[in-house]
Amino acid sequence: MLLQRFLIRLLTMAITLLGVAVVVFVVIRVAPGDPVAMMLPPGATDADIARLRALYGLDKTIVQQFFIWLSGVIRGDFGTSISLRQDVLGLVFNRLPATLELAIVALLMALAIGGTTAILGARERGTAVEAGIEIASGAALSIPDFLWGLVLILLFGVLVPVFDISGRVSPQLDLPFVTQFYLFESIVRLRFDLTKDLLGHMLMPAVALALPLAAIISQLLKQSLKEVLDLDYVVLARVKGFSETQVILREALKNAALPTLTLVGVQFTFLIGGTVIVERLFSYEGLGNMAIDAVINRDLPLIQGIVLVFALLFVLINLTVDMMYALLNPRLRHG
Protein backbone atom coordinates (compact mmCIF):
# COMPACT_ATOMS: atom_id res chain seq x y z
CA MET A 1 0.00 0.00 0.00
CA LEU A 2 2.87 2.31 0.83
CA LEU A 3 4.55 1.39 -2.45
CA GLN A 4 1.36 2.15 -4.36
CA ARG A 5 1.16 5.53 -2.63
CA PHE A 6 4.76 6.20 -3.57
CA LEU A 7 4.18 5.29 -7.23
CA ILE A 8 1.14 7.55 -7.46
CA ARG A 9 3.25 10.36 -6.01
CA LEU A 10 5.97 9.76 -8.62
CA LEU A 11 3.39 9.90 -11.40
CA THR A 12 1.88 13.20 -10.18
CA MET A 13 5.41 14.57 -9.86
CA ALA A 14 6.11 13.67 -13.49
CA ILE A 15 2.85 15.30 -14.60
CA THR A 16 3.66 18.46 -12.64
CA LEU A 17 7.13 18.68 -14.17
CA LEU A 18 5.71 18.15 -17.65
CA GLY A 19 3.20 20.92 -16.95
CA VAL A 20 6.01 23.26 -15.89
CA ALA A 21 7.97 22.41 -19.03
CA VAL A 22 4.97 23.12 -21.26
CA VAL A 23 4.15 26.43 -19.53
CA VAL A 24 7.74 27.72 -19.74
CA PHE A 25 8.03 26.62 -23.31
CA VAL A 26 4.83 28.38 -24.34
CA VAL A 27 5.59 31.54 -22.35
CA ILE A 28 9.06 31.87 -23.82
CA ARG A 29 7.97 31.34 -27.44
CA VAL A 30 5.46 34.16 -27.11
CA ALA A 31 8.36 36.53 -26.55
CA PRO A 32 8.49 39.20 -29.24
CA GLY A 33 12.26 39.67 -29.39
CA ASP A 34 14.40 37.42 -31.58
CA PRO A 35 17.27 36.02 -29.51
CA VAL A 36 19.20 35.00 -32.61
CA ALA A 37 19.25 38.49 -34.04
CA MET A 38 20.76 39.71 -30.77
CA MET A 39 23.62 37.21 -31.00
CA LEU A 40 24.91 38.26 -34.37
CA PRO A 41 26.89 41.40 -35.09
CA PRO A 42 25.06 44.14 -37.00
CA GLY A 43 25.12 43.66 -40.72
CA ALA A 44 24.63 39.87 -40.62
CA THR A 45 22.84 38.54 -43.65
CA ASP A 46 19.45 36.84 -43.61
CA ALA A 47 21.21 33.63 -44.55
CA ASP A 48 23.39 33.91 -41.43
CA ILE A 49 20.32 34.40 -39.26
CA ALA A 50 18.53 31.47 -40.87
CA ARG A 51 21.57 29.22 -40.35
CA LEU A 52 21.75 30.12 -36.71
CA ARG A 53 18.01 29.63 -36.26
CA ALA A 54 18.32 26.17 -37.74
CA LEU A 55 21.27 25.46 -35.44
CA TYR A 56 19.11 26.16 -32.34
CA GLY A 57 16.07 24.46 -33.87
CA LEU A 58 14.14 27.73 -33.91
CA ASP A 59 12.96 27.24 -37.53
CA LYS A 60 10.57 24.43 -36.58
CA THR A 61 7.01 24.74 -35.18
CA ILE A 62 6.54 25.19 -31.45
CA VAL A 63 5.21 21.64 -31.03
CA GLN A 64 8.15 20.18 -32.93
CA GLN A 65 10.57 22.29 -30.94
CA PHE A 66 9.00 21.13 -27.69
CA PHE A 67 9.34 17.46 -28.51
CA ILE A 68 12.90 17.89 -29.76
CA TRP A 69 13.73 19.68 -26.51
CA LEU A 70 11.85 17.13 -24.38
CA SER A 71 13.58 14.14 -25.95
CA GLY A 72 16.87 15.89 -25.30
CA VAL A 73 15.96 16.53 -21.68
CA ILE A 74 15.05 12.87 -21.18
CA ARG A 75 18.49 11.94 -22.52
CA GLY A 76 20.05 14.49 -20.16
CA ASP A 77 20.70 17.07 -22.90
CA PHE A 78 19.23 20.46 -21.99
CA GLY A 79 20.71 22.17 -25.04
CA THR A 80 23.29 24.94 -25.32
CA SER A 81 23.05 28.34 -23.69
CA ILE A 82 22.67 31.06 -26.31
CA SER A 83 24.36 33.84 -24.34
CA LEU A 84 27.13 31.80 -22.70
CA ARG A 85 27.62 29.25 -25.54
CA GLN A 86 27.96 26.42 -23.05
CA ASP A 87 26.10 23.25 -22.18
CA VAL A 88 23.03 24.22 -20.11
CA LEU A 89 23.23 21.24 -17.77
CA GLY A 90 26.88 22.00 -17.03
CA LEU A 91 26.08 25.64 -16.27
CA VAL A 92 23.19 24.68 -14.00
CA PHE A 93 25.20 22.11 -12.07
CA ASN A 94 28.00 24.65 -11.73
CA ARG A 95 25.66 27.11 -9.97
CA LEU A 96 23.16 24.84 -8.21
CA PRO A 97 25.48 23.87 -5.30
CA ALA A 98 25.89 27.53 -4.29
CA THR A 99 22.12 27.97 -4.13
CA LEU A 100 21.60 24.68 -2.31
CA GLU A 101 24.21 25.54 0.31
CA LEU A 102 22.60 28.95 0.85
CA ALA A 103 19.10 27.47 1.09
CA ILE A 104 20.14 24.74 3.51
CA VAL A 105 22.05 27.14 5.78
CA ALA A 106 18.96 29.39 5.75
CA LEU A 107 16.66 26.45 6.55
CA LEU A 108 18.83 25.38 9.47
CA MET A 109 18.84 28.96 10.77
CA ALA A 110 15.05 29.17 10.44
CA LEU A 111 14.60 25.88 12.28
CA ALA A 112 16.97 26.96 15.05
CA ILE A 113 15.47 30.43 15.51
CA GLY A 114 11.86 29.32 15.04
CA GLY A 115 12.21 26.22 17.21
CA THR A 116 13.94 28.02 20.07
CA THR A 117 11.47 30.90 20.18
CA ALA A 118 8.52 28.49 19.94
CA ILE A 119 9.79 26.41 22.86
CA LEU A 120 10.59 29.51 24.89
CA GLY A 121 7.19 31.05 24.12
CA ALA A 122 5.36 27.84 25.04
CA ARG A 123 7.29 27.50 28.29
CA GLU A 124 6.60 31.12 29.23
CA ARG A 125 3.02 31.05 27.92
CA GLY A 126 0.83 33.85 29.14
CA THR A 127 3.78 36.09 30.09
CA ALA A 128 5.38 39.18 28.55
CA VAL A 129 8.06 36.92 27.04
CA GLU A 130 5.45 35.15 24.95
CA ALA A 131 3.84 38.44 23.91
CA GLY A 132 7.25 39.77 22.81
CA ILE A 133 7.95 36.66 20.73
CA GLU A 134 4.49 36.97 19.18
CA ILE A 135 5.07 40.58 18.11
CA ALA A 136 8.58 39.90 16.78
CA SER A 137 7.43 36.90 14.75
CA GLY A 138 4.46 38.86 13.41
CA ALA A 139 6.80 41.54 12.07
CA ALA A 140 9.32 39.01 10.72
CA LEU A 141 6.51 37.24 8.90
CA SER A 142 4.97 40.30 7.24
CA ILE A 143 8.23 41.62 5.82
CA PRO A 144 9.45 39.58 2.83
CA ASP A 145 13.02 38.35 2.26
CA PHE A 146 13.76 41.08 -0.31
CA LEU A 147 13.17 43.82 2.26
CA TRP A 148 15.00 41.92 5.02
CA GLY A 149 17.96 41.70 2.66
CA LEU A 150 17.97 45.47 2.16
CA VAL A 151 17.60 46.10 5.90
CA LEU A 152 20.55 43.80 6.60
CA ILE A 153 22.66 45.49 3.92
CA LEU A 154 22.01 48.83 5.59
CA LEU A 155 22.60 47.59 9.13
CA PHE A 156 25.60 45.30 8.72
CA GLY A 157 27.04 46.48 5.42
CA VAL A 158 26.95 50.23 5.98
CA LEU A 159 26.04 51.23 9.53
CA VAL A 160 28.22 48.61 11.22
CA PRO A 161 30.20 47.07 8.35
CA VAL A 162 30.98 43.69 9.92
CA PHE A 163 29.79 41.28 7.23
CA ASP A 164 30.36 40.92 3.51
CA ILE A 165 27.33 41.94 1.48
CA SER A 166 28.54 40.92 -1.94
CA GLY A 167 29.62 37.67 -3.57
CA ARG A 168 30.09 34.11 -2.37
CA VAL A 169 33.73 34.15 -1.35
CA SER A 170 36.49 36.75 -1.11
CA PRO A 171 38.03 36.95 -4.61
CA GLN A 172 41.65 37.12 -3.41
CA LEU A 173 41.45 33.67 -1.78
CA ASP A 174 42.96 30.58 -3.43
CA LEU A 175 40.28 27.93 -3.65
CA PRO A 176 41.46 24.31 -3.63
CA PHE A 177 37.97 22.94 -4.29
CA VAL A 178 37.14 20.28 -6.88
CA THR A 179 33.34 20.45 -6.40
CA GLN A 180 31.08 23.48 -6.32
CA PHE A 181 29.92 22.65 -2.79
CA TYR A 182 32.45 25.11 -1.37
CA LEU A 183 31.10 25.22 2.17
CA PHE A 184 30.78 21.47 2.47
CA GLU A 185 34.19 20.85 0.93
CA SER A 186 35.91 23.45 3.09
CA ILE A 187 34.63 21.60 6.17
CA VAL A 188 35.65 18.20 4.82
CA ARG A 189 39.13 19.51 3.97
CA LEU A 190 39.37 21.12 7.42
CA ARG A 191 40.08 24.49 5.77
CA PHE A 192 38.13 26.38 8.42
CA ASP A 193 39.63 29.71 7.29
CA LEU A 194 37.70 29.24 4.04
CA THR A 195 34.60 28.02 5.92
CA LYS A 196 34.66 31.21 7.89
CA ASP A 197 34.96 33.37 4.76
CA LEU A 198 32.16 31.45 2.99
CA LEU A 199 29.85 31.65 6.00
CA GLY A 200 30.64 35.36 6.37
CA HIS A 201 29.41 35.93 2.82
CA MET A 202 26.45 33.61 3.28
CA LEU A 203 25.25 34.95 6.61
CA MET A 204 23.35 38.05 5.48
CA PRO A 205 21.46 36.50 2.54
CA ALA A 206 20.74 33.41 4.64
CA VAL A 207 19.31 35.49 7.49
CA ALA A 208 17.14 37.43 5.02
CA LEU A 209 15.77 34.16 3.67
CA ALA A 210 15.45 32.55 7.10
CA LEU A 211 13.56 35.26 9.01
CA PRO A 212 10.09 34.86 7.43
CA LEU A 213 10.33 31.06 7.63
CA ALA A 214 11.56 31.23 11.24
CA ALA A 215 8.52 33.35 12.09
CA ILE A 216 6.12 30.84 10.56
CA ILE A 217 7.80 27.93 12.34
CA SER A 218 7.77 29.87 15.61
CA GLN A 219 4.06 30.67 15.40
CA LEU A 220 2.85 27.27 14.24
CA LEU A 221 5.06 25.25 16.56
CA LYS A 222 4.22 27.41 19.57
CA GLN A 223 0.51 27.07 18.86
CA SER A 224 0.62 23.31 18.57
CA LEU A 225 2.97 23.04 21.57
CA LYS A 226 0.47 24.98 23.66
CA GLU A 227 -2.31 22.65 22.54
CA VAL A 228 -0.25 19.56 23.33
CA LEU A 229 0.83 20.94 26.73
CA ASP A 230 -2.75 20.70 28.01
CA LEU A 231 -3.06 17.00 27.13
CA ASP A 232 -3.23 14.30 29.77
CA TYR A 233 0.06 12.60 28.98
CA VAL A 234 1.87 15.90 29.45
CA VAL A 235 0.12 16.46 32.80
CA LEU A 236 1.16 12.95 33.76
CA ALA A 237 4.78 13.75 32.88
CA ARG A 238 4.63 16.80 35.16
CA VAL A 239 3.30 14.65 38.00
CA LYS A 240 6.20 12.26 37.41
CA GLY A 241 8.50 15.12 38.41
CA PHE A 242 9.84 16.36 35.07
CA SER A 243 10.50 20.08 34.67
CA GLU A 244 8.55 22.15 32.15
CA THR A 245 11.51 22.27 29.74
CA GLN A 246 11.98 18.50 30.00
CA VAL A 247 8.25 18.01 29.49
CA ILE A 248 8.32 20.12 26.33
CA LEU A 249 11.42 18.49 24.88
CA ARG A 250 10.62 14.88 25.80
CA GLU A 251 6.85 14.64 25.59
CA ALA A 252 5.42 17.51 23.60
CA LEU A 253 7.90 18.52 20.89
CA LYS A 254 7.69 15.47 18.64
CA ASN A 255 3.90 15.38 18.59
CA ALA A 256 3.64 19.14 18.14
CA ALA A 257 6.23 19.16 15.36
CA LEU A 258 4.28 16.84 13.07
CA PRO A 259 1.64 19.36 11.95
CA THR A 260 4.35 22.01 11.56
CA LEU A 261 6.49 19.76 9.39
CA THR A 262 4.15 19.60 6.39
CA LEU A 263 3.98 23.38 6.28
CA VAL A 264 7.73 23.76 6.59
CA GLY A 265 8.04 21.74 3.38
CA VAL A 266 5.92 24.15 1.35
CA GLN A 267 7.59 27.12 3.03
CA PHE A 268 11.04 25.75 2.20
CA THR A 269 10.11 25.81 -1.48
CA PHE A 270 9.11 29.46 -1.01
CA LEU A 271 12.50 30.06 0.59
CA ILE A 272 14.27 28.55 -2.41
CA GLY A 273 12.08 30.69 -4.67
CA GLY A 274 13.29 33.67 -2.66
CA THR A 275 16.95 32.87 -3.40
CA VAL A 276 16.39 34.26 -6.91
CA ILE A 277 16.08 37.87 -5.77
CA VAL A 278 18.17 37.58 -2.60
CA GLU A 279 21.11 36.21 -4.59
CA ARG A 280 20.72 39.17 -6.92
CA LEU A 281 20.64 41.55 -3.99
CA PHE A 282 23.87 40.18 -2.52
CA SER A 283 25.56 39.44 -5.88
CA TYR A 284 25.79 35.82 -4.73
CA GLU A 285 26.87 33.58 -7.62
CA GLY A 286 24.03 31.07 -7.48
CA LEU A 287 21.43 29.64 -9.81
CA GLY A 288 18.88 32.40 -9.17
CA ASN A 289 21.29 35.16 -10.05
CA MET A 290 22.14 33.36 -13.27
CA ALA A 291 18.42 32.90 -13.98
CA ILE A 292 17.80 36.65 -13.93
CA ASP A 293 20.70 37.19 -16.32
CA ALA A 294 19.30 34.46 -18.55
CA VAL A 295 15.92 36.21 -18.69
CA ILE A 296 17.49 39.58 -19.43
CA ASN A 297 19.60 38.01 -22.23
CA ARG A 298 16.59 36.03 -23.57
CA ASP A 299 18.65 32.86 -23.28
CA LEU A 300 15.81 30.41 -23.95
CA PRO A 301 17.55 27.05 -23.39
CA LEU A 302 19.13 28.31 -20.18
CA ILE A 303 15.83 29.70 -18.81
CA GLN A 304 14.07 26.41 -19.56
CA GLY A 305 16.80 24.41 -17.90
CA ILE A 306 16.92 26.55 -14.76
CA VAL A 307 13.14 26.66 -14.30
CA LEU A 308 12.91 22.91 -14.72
CA VAL A 309 15.67 22.33 -12.17
CA PHE A 310 13.89 24.60 -9.68
CA ALA A 311 10.62 22.76 -10.30
CA LEU A 312 12.35 19.41 -9.82
CA LEU A 313 13.81 20.67 -6.56
CA PHE A 314 10.35 21.79 -5.35
CA VAL A 315 8.58 18.52 -6.07
CA LEU A 316 11.45 16.54 -4.52
CA ILE A 317 11.16 18.61 -1.33
CA ASN A 318 7.42 17.97 -1.15
CA LEU A 319 8.03 14.26 -1.67
CA THR A 320 10.66 14.21 1.09
CA VAL A 321 8.31 15.95 3.50
CA ASP A 322 5.55 13.44 2.74
CA MET A 323 7.90 10.56 3.37
CA MET A 324 9.20 12.10 6.60
CA TYR A 325 5.65 12.64 7.79
CA ALA A 326 4.81 9.00 7.19
CA LEU A 327 8.02 7.94 8.91
CA LEU A 328 7.56 10.07 12.00
CA ASN A 329 3.89 9.32 12.53
CA PRO A 330 3.59 5.94 14.28
CA ARG A 331 -0.05 5.73 13.34
CA LEU A 332 0.78 5.81 9.63
CA ARG A 333 3.82 3.61 10.06
CA HIS A 334 1.85 0.73 11.49
CA GLY A 335 -1.56 1.40 10.06
Binding site: L231, D232, Y233, V235, L236, R238, V239, G241, N255, R331
Partner: protein, 295 residues
Protein backbone atom coordinates in the same frame (compact mmCIF):
# COMPACT_ATOMS: atom_id res chain seq x y z
CA UNK B 1 -7.89 6.99 64.21
CA UNK B 2 -4.43 6.84 65.75
CA UNK B 3 -1.71 9.45 66.13
CA UNK B 4 0.22 8.68 62.89
CA UNK B 5 1.03 11.60 60.61
CA UNK B 6 -1.48 11.81 57.72
CA UNK B 7 -0.13 10.97 54.27
CA UNK B 8 -1.92 13.97 52.84
CA UNK B 9 -3.33 16.81 54.86
CA UNK B 10 -5.21 19.65 53.15
CA UNK B 11 -6.18 22.60 55.33
CA UNK B 12 -8.79 25.14 54.23
CA UNK B 13 -7.73 25.22 50.58
CA UNK B 14 -9.38 27.88 48.42
CA UNK B 15 -8.83 28.51 44.72
CA UNK B 16 -10.27 31.10 42.34
CA UNK B 17 -10.68 31.66 38.62
CA UNK B 18 -9.42 34.90 37.01
CA UNK B 19 -12.94 36.40 37.29
CA UNK B 20 -12.87 35.84 41.07
CA UNK B 21 -15.24 32.88 41.11
CA UNK B 22 -14.21 30.32 43.73
CA UNK B 23 -13.73 26.78 42.52
CA UNK B 24 -12.60 25.48 45.94
CA UNK B 25 -14.06 26.85 49.19
CA UNK B 26 -11.91 26.22 52.26
CA UNK B 27 -11.56 22.52 51.57
CA UNK B 28 -10.04 20.49 54.40
CA UNK B 29 -9.43 16.79 54.16
CA UNK B 30 -6.79 14.28 55.08
CA UNK B 31 -5.75 10.87 53.84
CA UNK B 32 -4.10 8.51 56.32
CA UNK B 33 -1.32 6.17 55.17
CA UNK B 34 -2.75 3.13 53.42
CA UNK B 35 -6.26 4.53 53.38
CA UNK B 36 -8.58 5.04 50.40
CA UNK B 37 -10.39 8.33 50.64
CA UNK B 38 -13.17 8.81 48.10
CA UNK B 39 -13.96 12.30 46.90
CA UNK B 40 -17.44 12.27 45.45
CA UNK B 41 -19.54 14.95 43.80
CA UNK B 42 -21.20 15.95 40.56
CA UNK B 43 -19.18 17.22 37.61
CA UNK B 44 -18.04 20.78 38.27
CA UNK B 45 -17.98 20.25 42.03
CA UNK B 46 -14.20 20.78 42.03
CA UNK B 47 -13.17 17.26 42.97
CA UNK B 48 -10.68 16.98 40.13
CA UNK B 49 -9.28 20.42 41.06
CA UNK B 50 -8.34 19.13 44.51
CA UNK B 51 -6.37 16.26 42.98
CA UNK B 52 -4.66 18.62 40.55
CA UNK B 53 -3.84 21.12 43.28
CA UNK B 54 -2.12 18.41 45.31
CA UNK B 55 -0.08 17.29 42.30
CA UNK B 56 0.79 20.86 41.32
CA UNK B 57 -0.82 20.62 37.87
CA UNK B 58 -3.69 23.08 38.18
CA UNK B 59 -4.57 24.85 34.91
CA UNK B 60 -2.75 28.22 34.72
CA UNK B 61 -6.05 30.10 35.08
CA UNK B 62 -6.81 28.59 38.51
CA UNK B 63 -5.02 30.26 41.42
CA UNK B 64 -4.72 28.96 44.98
CA UNK B 65 -5.49 31.88 47.30
CA UNK B 66 -5.31 30.26 50.74
CA UNK B 67 -4.71 27.01 52.54
CA UNK B 68 -1.89 24.52 53.06
CA UNK B 69 -1.20 21.15 51.55
CA UNK B 70 1.06 18.84 53.53
CA UNK B 71 2.45 15.75 51.85
CA UNK B 72 3.82 13.49 54.62
CA UNK B 73 4.35 16.57 56.75
CA UNK B 74 6.12 18.61 54.05
CA UNK B 75 4.34 21.85 53.29
CA UNK B 76 4.12 21.91 49.48
CA UNK B 77 3.46 25.66 49.41
CA UNK B 78 6.75 26.44 51.20
CA UNK B 79 8.97 24.44 48.83
CA UNK B 80 10.86 25.88 45.89
CA UNK B 81 9.27 24.84 42.56
CA UNK B 82 12.06 22.40 41.71
CA UNK B 83 12.04 20.74 45.15
CA UNK B 84 8.25 20.52 45.09
CA UNK B 85 8.34 18.90 41.66
CA UNK B 86 10.87 16.31 42.75
CA UNK B 87 8.98 15.57 45.97
CA UNK B 88 5.69 15.11 44.13
CA UNK B 89 7.42 12.97 41.51
CA UNK B 90 8.98 10.73 44.14
CA UNK B 91 6.06 10.29 46.52
CA UNK B 92 2.88 10.56 44.46
CA UNK B 93 1.40 9.21 41.27
CA UNK B 94 -1.63 9.87 39.13
CA UNK B 95 -4.03 7.40 37.59
CA UNK B 96 -5.68 9.61 34.98
CA UNK B 97 -9.24 9.70 33.82
CA UNK B 98 -8.85 8.97 30.14
CA UNK B 99 -6.34 6.26 29.22
CA UNK B 100 -6.76 7.19 25.55
CA UNK B 101 -5.05 10.57 25.98
CA UNK B 102 -2.79 9.80 28.94
CA UNK B 103 -0.14 7.97 26.93
CA UNK B 104 2.15 9.76 24.51
CA UNK B 105 1.21 8.59 20.99
CA UNK B 106 4.75 8.95 19.63
CA UNK B 107 6.67 7.11 22.36
CA UNK B 108 6.75 3.40 23.04
CA UNK B 109 5.05 2.14 26.21
CA UNK B 110 8.26 0.83 27.80
CA UNK B 111 10.19 4.10 28.15
CA UNK B 112 7.01 5.90 29.20
CA UNK B 113 6.69 3.48 32.12
CA UNK B 114 10.32 3.52 33.19
CA UNK B 115 11.25 7.19 32.69
CA UNK B 116 10.27 8.29 36.19
CA UNK B 117 12.18 5.41 37.82
CA UNK B 118 15.32 6.07 35.79
CA UNK B 119 15.38 9.82 35.35
CA UNK B 120 13.73 11.11 38.52
CA UNK B 121 14.44 8.36 41.06
CA UNK B 122 17.82 7.41 39.59
CA UNK B 123 17.26 3.67 39.22
CA UNK B 124 19.40 1.62 36.83
CA UNK B 125 17.77 0.61 33.55
CA UNK B 126 17.63 -3.14 34.24
CA UNK B 127 16.22 -2.58 37.73
CA UNK B 128 13.46 -0.33 36.37
CA UNK B 129 12.72 -2.82 33.62
CA UNK B 130 12.41 -5.71 36.07
CA UNK B 131 10.16 -3.62 38.30
CA UNK B 132 7.86 -2.68 35.43
CA UNK B 133 7.54 -6.31 34.33
CA UNK B 134 6.65 -7.30 37.87
CA UNK B 135 3.86 -4.71 37.93
CA UNK B 136 2.62 -5.62 34.44
CA UNK B 137 2.27 -9.16 35.73
CA UNK B 138 0.30 -7.85 38.71
CA UNK B 139 -2.15 -6.06 36.41
CA UNK B 140 -2.52 -9.31 34.47
CA UNK B 141 -0.71 -8.34 31.30
CA UNK B 142 0.59 -11.64 30.03
CA UNK B 143 2.86 -10.56 27.16
CA UNK B 144 4.96 -7.71 28.60
CA UNK B 145 7.57 -7.96 25.82
CA UNK B 146 5.03 -7.04 23.20
CA UNK B 147 3.26 -4.39 25.27
CA UNK B 148 6.48 -2.58 26.21
CA UNK B 149 7.37 -2.23 22.51
CA UNK B 150 3.88 -1.03 21.53
CA UNK B 151 2.65 2.47 20.79
CA UNK B 152 -0.46 3.43 22.72
CA UNK B 153 -2.81 3.24 19.72
CA UNK B 154 -2.01 -0.45 19.42
CA UNK B 155 -3.57 -1.19 22.82
CA UNK B 156 -7.21 -1.26 23.90
CA UNK B 157 -8.58 1.23 26.42
CA UNK B 158 -8.59 -1.36 29.22
CA UNK B 159 -4.99 -2.38 28.42
CA UNK B 160 -3.86 1.23 28.47
CA UNK B 161 -5.46 1.81 31.86
CA UNK B 162 -3.70 -1.33 33.19
CA UNK B 163 -0.42 0.05 31.89
CA UNK B 164 -1.09 3.39 33.62
CA UNK B 165 -2.02 1.67 36.88
CA UNK B 166 1.13 -0.45 36.74
CA UNK B 167 3.20 2.68 36.07
CA UNK B 168 1.54 4.50 38.98
CA UNK B 169 2.37 1.76 41.48
CA UNK B 170 5.85 1.05 40.07
CA UNK B 171 7.65 3.79 42.01
CA UNK B 172 6.01 2.77 45.31
CA UNK B 173 4.38 6.16 45.82
CA UNK B 174 2.90 6.95 49.23
CA UNK B 175 -0.13 8.61 47.67
CA UNK B 176 -1.96 7.98 44.41
CA UNK B 177 -4.51 10.39 43.03
CA UNK B 178 -6.99 8.35 41.01
CA UNK B 179 -8.98 10.80 38.89
CA UNK B 180 -12.16 8.96 37.82
CA UNK B 181 -10.00 6.11 36.49
CA UNK B 182 -12.92 4.03 35.23
CA UNK B 183 -15.21 6.68 33.77
CA UNK B 184 -13.88 6.48 30.22
CA UNK B 185 -13.99 2.66 30.07
CA UNK B 186 -16.63 0.11 29.06
CA UNK B 187 -18.83 -1.06 31.92
CA UNK B 188 -17.42 -4.59 31.84
CA UNK B 189 -13.84 -3.33 31.92
CA UNK B 190 -14.64 -0.86 34.72
CA UNK B 191 -15.15 -3.66 37.25
CA UNK B 192 -11.88 -5.40 36.41
CA UNK B 193 -9.93 -2.16 36.64
CA UNK B 194 -11.53 -1.26 39.96
CA UNK B 195 -10.69 -4.70 41.32
CA UNK B 196 -7.07 -4.33 40.16
CA UNK B 197 -6.69 -0.95 41.85
CA UNK B 198 -8.19 -2.28 45.09
CA UNK B 199 -5.95 -5.34 45.03
CA UNK B 200 -2.75 -3.43 44.32
CA UNK B 201 -3.69 -0.86 46.96
CA UNK B 202 -4.00 -3.60 49.59
CA UNK B 203 -0.76 -5.27 48.59
CA UNK B 204 1.29 -2.08 48.50
CA UNK B 205 -0.49 -0.25 51.29
CA UNK B 206 -0.69 2.90 49.20
CA UNK B 207 -2.96 5.75 50.23
CA UNK B 208 -5.36 6.74 47.47
CA UNK B 209 -7.35 9.90 46.93
CA UNK B 210 -10.07 8.45 44.73
CA UNK B 211 -12.01 11.05 42.76
CA UNK B 212 -15.34 9.84 41.39
CA UNK B 213 -18.93 10.84 40.72
CA UNK B 214 -20.17 7.28 41.22
CA UNK B 215 -21.44 6.34 44.68
CA UNK B 216 -21.36 2.67 43.64
CA UNK B 217 -17.59 2.96 43.16
CA UNK B 218 -17.28 4.76 46.50
CA UNK B 219 -18.97 1.86 48.28
CA UNK B 220 -16.71 -0.71 46.63
CA UNK B 221 -13.30 0.84 47.13
CA UNK B 222 -13.09 3.42 49.91
CA UNK B 223 -12.93 3.46 53.69
CA UNK B 224 -13.53 7.20 54.08
CA UNK B 225 -15.49 9.59 51.90
CA UNK B 226 -15.81 13.35 51.42
CA UNK B 227 -18.87 14.66 49.63
CA UNK B 228 -18.19 17.77 47.60
CA UNK B 229 -20.66 20.34 46.33
CA UNK B 230 -19.64 23.54 44.49
CA UNK B 231 -16.08 23.31 45.77
CA UNK B 232 -17.13 22.77 49.38
CA UNK B 233 -16.96 19.64 51.51
CA UNK B 234 -20.53 19.16 52.75
CA UNK B 235 -20.07 15.81 54.48
CA UNK B 236 -17.06 13.79 55.58
CA UNK B 237 -17.31 10.38 57.22
CA UNK B 238 -16.57 6.64 57.12
CA UNK B 239 -17.90 5.11 53.92
CA UNK B 240 -20.02 2.55 55.78
CA UNK B 241 -21.53 5.28 57.94
CA UNK B 242 -22.36 7.38 54.88
CA UNK B 243 -24.38 4.64 53.27
CA UNK B 244 -26.01 3.63 56.58
CA UNK B 245 -27.06 7.14 57.55
CA UNK B 246 -26.28 10.06 55.23
CA UNK B 247 -26.30 13.23 57.32
CA UNK B 248 -26.32 16.10 54.83
CA UNK B 249 -29.43 16.73 52.70
CA UNK B 250 -27.25 16.97 49.56
CA UNK B 251 -25.77 13.51 50.22
CA UNK B 252 -29.25 12.11 50.60
CA UNK B 253 -30.37 13.78 47.38
CA UNK B 254 -27.28 12.44 45.56
CA UNK B 255 -28.04 8.93 46.81
CA UNK B 256 -31.64 9.21 45.71
CA UNK B 257 -30.42 10.18 42.23
CA UNK B 258 -28.04 7.21 41.98
CA UNK B 259 -29.33 4.32 39.86
CA UNK B 260 -29.87 1.00 41.59
CA UNK B 261 -29.80 -2.28 39.77
CA UNK B 262 -33.06 -3.28 41.40
CA UNK B 263 -34.85 -0.19 40.12
CA UNK B 264 -33.31 1.06 36.87
CA UNK B 265 -35.96 3.71 36.27
CA UNK B 266 -34.97 5.57 39.40
CA UNK B 267 -31.86 6.68 37.52
CA UNK B 268 -33.94 9.20 35.66
CA UNK B 269 -34.46 11.26 38.81
CA UNK B 270 -32.27 14.36 39.00
CA UNK B 271 -30.83 15.69 42.26
CA UNK B 272 -33.67 17.33 44.21
CA UNK B 273 -34.06 20.98 43.19
CA UNK B 274 -35.13 22.19 46.64
CA UNK B 275 -31.95 20.78 48.19
CA UNK B 276 -29.81 22.51 45.58
CA UNK B 277 -31.60 25.84 46.13
CA UNK B 278 -30.96 25.59 49.87
CA UNK B 279 -27.27 24.81 49.24
CA UNK B 280 -26.92 27.68 46.81
CA UNK B 281 -28.11 30.29 49.32
CA UNK B 282 -25.91 28.73 52.02
CA UNK B 283 -22.87 28.99 49.74
CA UNK B 284 -23.70 32.53 48.66
CA UNK B 285 -23.74 33.57 52.32
CA UNK B 286 -20.41 31.81 52.91
CA UNK B 287 -18.88 33.58 49.87
CA UNK B 288 -20.08 36.91 51.23
CA UNK B 289 -18.38 36.21 54.55
CA UNK B 290 -15.25 34.97 52.78
CA UNK B 291 -14.88 38.02 50.54
CA UNK B 292 -14.80 40.46 53.42
CA UNK B 293 -11.32 39.57 54.74
CA UNK B 294 -10.00 38.54 51.28
CA UNK B 295 -11.15 41.62 49.37
Amino acid sequence: MNATRPCLDIQSLSAVLPNGARVLRSVSLSVQPGEVRALVGESGAGKTMIGKAVLGVLPPSVRVVEGDMLLEGEDLGRLQPKARRTLIGARTALIPQDPLTALNPSRRIGPQMTDRLVRILGWSGPRADARIRQLLDAVQIRDPDRVLKCYSHELSGGMRQRVLIAAAFAAEPRLIVADEPTTALDVTVQKQILRLIAQLQREHGTAILFVTHDLGVVAKISQKVSVLYAGKVVEETETAALFAAPQHPYTRALMAATPRYTDPFASLKPVDEAVLAGLASEIAAADQAWRRPHG
